[in-house]
């Protein structure tokens, strides 16, 4: 769509490759340094908050895929732009740098990702459990595919 | 025979009848039952609800409070083990006693007064000033952080309203030149106190609201902030006594208000009713206005109540004293 072309051109000048989907723009990165690099460049372009951090467990490819969804409040014309950054991590020791210094709005999202998937965020100031109790759920990551919910049958 | 007739004289004398019936214990109990029902019904009608209905359905649930009192009497009082037991259990009784004491000096008609003294207004003010300190002790004895904060707030409120309550009564004393309730009522044969000095009436009414924790000054028992304030840990009959003491305090202050400002049992026209009925009717009207505030106002913060007390109401009370002095110099009253 035309309204994103201007932004894509500006970002291409910075050296980022953008895949354009129907309603959002996507950037794929492969290493942690590239992630921090891309986020810093996007922050200078006007993206100023994180809307969501989605982590998906793909056991058949042995990766964890993390998507950061960013948006912008500062510029009127960029209200409708949705930027998604995707990175794949190995499942055995998933470590990511914490972006809570660049974007303070990501603090609670990173805490939840840590307790649900086991992704360690380096440099996060307050990495505690958020929703689940530490006594029952240390070392167990409920949203990974190997954690199965026990279903109870209906009696009678 | 002499001793028996002396005893009968004392038992049926006006003082004892005043102590037991009017304005004493029986009337106080009746008024508490009625005023809580009126408060709940009026607040309910304002809020698009019905209020208490099922107890004595034909009369609109008027005996609801008797049902509540019976429930308080039979439910099990639980005394937490971390409180200071002796003080914790003594506080409700002490509060009830201190709330009943000021009624002893206020008359309900020419002869219906328990203790007849020439300094009755002074005694009244002195006796009403003791309860807040007992409430602070309750906040400390409960050994609970919320009660502690509630007790501190009661102390702050005491500092806020006590002064202008006293000064507005000083204004009326200057105006009438008397400090005895009976003389004050007889000075209002021509004009009532509220017409002569309305500023003092307003100031005393607001001090009454602040003193008995009515909205917008319901600060020590602010339910959404500190659960129940100093009385968080009280339950069953102790809670019933504490709430009863609160309403008794309102009753005694309203009785004083109607004696000082509304002419007591005097009316500009003749009505074939006994005097005490007129006084009790005026007292009930004053109490109804005080409890109606619940349906209208939110509550202030404690520092805002202090600021209002000292910046706005204290100057009002001082101006009412000046007004009294001017009226007295002009020879208006009496």
């Amino acid at each position: 769509m035309n309204k994103f072309n201007e932004l894509i051109e500006k970002l291409k000048l910075e050296g980022l490759t953008i895949e354009k989907e129907d309603k959002a723009l996507r950037i794929r990165v492969s290493t942690a340094e590239e992630l921090v690099n891309v986020l810093n460049k996007l922050k200078m372009q006007g993206f100023d908050h994180i809307k969501s951090i989605t982590a998906t467990d793909l056991p058949d490819r042995n990766v964890l895929e993390v998507s950061y969804i960013l948006g912008s409040y500062s510029h009127d014309k960029m209200y409708e732009t949705l930027m998604i950054i995707t990175i794949s991590l190995s499942r055995d020791n998933p470590v990511l740098p914490s972006i809570s210094e660049i974007f303070p709005s990501s603090v609670y999202h990173e805490r939840e990702c840590y307790e649900m998937f086991g992704i360690k965020f380096e440099g996060h100031r307050d990495q505690r459990h958020l929703l689940l109790s530490p006594e029952d759920f240390t070392g167990i990551y409920p949203l990974r595919k190997e954690f199965k919910i026990e279903e109870e049958g209906i009696r009678g | 025979m002499n001793i028996l007739s002396e005893v009968l004289n004392i038992v049926f004398s006006r003082n004892v009848i005043a102590a037991i019936f009017i304005p004493g214990l029986v009337t106080a109990l009746l008024f508490i039952i009625l005023i809580i029902w009126v408060e709940r019904k009026i607040a309910a009608r304002v809020q698009m609800r019905i209020g208490p209905l099922y107890v004595t359905k034909r009369f609109g649930g008027i005996l609801q409070l008797i049902a509540d009192m019976l429930r308080f009497l039979v439910s099990e009082p639980v005394i937490p083990s971390t409180t200071d037991r002796l003080i914790y259990t003594l506080i409700p009784i002490l509060l009830l006693l201190l709330a009943l004491l000021p009624i002893a000096v206020v008359p309900a008609s020419w002869s219906l007064v328990v203790i007849k003294t020439e300094l009755s207004l002074l005694a009244f003010v002195a006796l009403t000033a003791i309860s807040p300190m007992v409430i602070m002790i309750a906040g400390w004895a409960s050994n609970n952080k919320f009660s502690y904060i509630g007790g501190l707030r009661e102390g702050f409120m005491l500092l806020s309203y006590e002064i202008y309550l006293f000064v507005s009564l000083l204004a009326m004393t200057i105006l009438y030149g008397e400090i005895d309730f009976l003389e004050i009522v007889s000075s209002q044969k021509v004009y009532w106190g509220v017409i002569l000095n309305p500023l003092a009436a307003v100031s005393f009414f607001i001090a009454m609201l602040a003193s008995t924790s009515r909205f917008p000054f319901e600060i020590p028992d602010a339910e959404s902030e500190i659960v129940m304030g100093p009385f968080t840990e009280y339950n069953s009959i102790m809670y019933g006594l504490v709430m009863g003491a609160n309403y008794l305090r309102l009753y005694s202050l309203s009785l004083a208000f109607s004696d000082i400002f509304l002419g007591g049992w005097l009316l500009p026209f003749n009505v074939p009713l006994p005097n005490f009925i007129i006084t009790m009717f005026k007292t009930f009207i004053v109490m109804t206005i005080a409890v109606f505030m619940r349906a209208v106002y939110p509550r202030y913060r404690v520092d805002q109540a202090l600021v209002i007390g000292w910046e706005k109401l204290f100057p009002l009370a001082i101006i009412s004293v000046l007004l009294s002095v001017i009226l007295r110099c002009l020879g208006v009253a009496l």
Binding site: E151 | Q47, I149
Partner: protein, 389 residues
């Protein structure tokens, strides 16, 4: 004693009349709060994990139960994400009806928040009146959808029921008496001098902080940023109706209350426009209507109620990723749905407005008096089941 030694720790916990199902750990020095730390998770039900075990249609009632005052928006966001993967657009009449139910739900959600805010600062009259007004909206929703709170009205391809007979005139009657009572509420609660004294200047959120912390909803708009998903990325019928975005500059609790009142007025405007401009047509997508036998097709046309085709029982979605963003009552709501070609969702990530506003607790409730804690906390309209999912 220094300030840290004097501070006592208060658990503004779940067993508190004004706290909801969450706990704030307050450190209080005298009457000033030194530190506030939210402790959530008391109503965590694992909705994201449960969604992986249910078929696509069974997830609709599941996601509605997260936020009961505002259930229609969760329903709508999920269906928008699902329709993006399926690649279908519902007919125009269905879009307008989706807008109608969304606005009814938004008014009910705002009244819920305002009522609780009222009772936190002591005005029980505001609480009773707001919940009484909310009853109007629940009755309208019951006439339209058959349920008062969790409607399950929006389905992939359209909506479940058409307007009943005489609905427009009845809505107009309800709205007139609603507006009259809102004027009374304004005189009693919103313009009350005690309310203003309690709420003005309390819990101020500056514009820069609002942007930096990424807050959403009426809180953002009360701090001066006029971001509304209905205008930025229009969905349903919002590109065809005319409304304003309520914004204020002060950023204190009173401004948030006024923004909510203005949004209720704008929602009433939208409802009137929707009922006036409603186009005729189907309420269910052609592709699915074709799959039904003729007897059921005529049933749908006669009664206006949709019956599902057989394929909905184990609906298989092509492989892909879909994002549904709506403006719920409390703010921006994002559903991120990832499908692997099966009949159950592979991953459903929900980013709720209450969760995104959680960062304000430690930021705003610092250095204020203890009596201001409920005034600020309930002006944020934080709903614990929605944040905990």
């Amino acid at each position: 004693m220094s300030s840290e030694e004097r501070a006592i720790t208060i658990f503004y916990g779940p067993q508190h009349p004004a706290s909801g199902h969450m706990r704030i750990i307050l450190e209080v020095d005298g009457d000033i709060v030194v530190k506030a730390d939210p402790d959530i998770g008391y109503v965590h039900r694992g909705i994201e994990k449960l969604a992986e075990y249910k078929t696509y249609l069974q997830v609709i009632p599941l996601v509605e139960r997260q936020c009961l005052p505002d259930a229609a928006h969760h329903n709508l966001a999920y269906i928008l994400a699902l329709e993006e993967i399926l690649g279908i657009e519902p007919p125009e009449r269905a879009q307008y009806l989706r807008t109608l139910i969304a606005e009814i739900s938004r008014i009910a959600s705002h009244l819920y928040g305002m009522g609780l805010h009222g009772i936190a600062i002591g005005s029980s009259t505001a609480y009773m009146w707001c919940f009484g007004l909310r009853e109007y909206m629940l009755l309208l929703a019951e006439k339209l959808t058959g349920a008062r709170i969790t409607y399950s009205y929006i389905i992939p391809g359209g909506v479940r029921r058409d307007l009943p007979q005489g609905f427009s005139s009845e809505v107009e009657r309800y709205l007139k008496s609603f507006e009259r009572k809102m004027r009374d509420l304004d005189k009693l609660f919103i313009s009350n001098p005690v309310t203003k004294a309690r709420l003005e200047g309390v819990g101020v959120l500056s514009k820069n902080d609002a942007i930096r912390l990424g807050v959403v909803g009426p809180i953002l708009r009360a701090s001066g940023i006029s971001y509304d998903v209905r205008k930025a990325r229009p969905y349903a019928a919002y590109q065809w109706v005319d409304f304003e975005v309520a914004t204020r500059k002060e950023g204190d609790s009173y401004a948030r209350l006024l923004v909510r009142v203005k949004e209720i007025q704008e929602s009433i405007r939208i409802i009137r426009q929707v009922l006036r401009d409603l186009p005729s047509g189907n309420i269910f997508h052609e592709k699915y209507v074709k799959m039904l036998p003729p007897k059921i097709k005529s049933y749908i046309e006669d009664t206006g109620r949709v019956k599902f085709p057989g394929v909905f029982a184990t609906l298989k979605i092509p492989k892909g990723e879909g994002i549904g963003i709506v403006e719920a009552g409390r703010g921006e709501l994002i559903y991120h749905l990832i499908s692997d070609g099966g009949s159950k969702p592979y991953r459903l990530k929900i980013s709720t407005p209450s969760f995104r506003n959680l960062i304000l607790f430690s930021h705003l409730i610092k250095g204020v008096k203890v009596a201001d804690v409920p005034a600020i906390y309930l002006s944020l309209d934080y709903f614990p089941p929605e944040a905990d999912r």
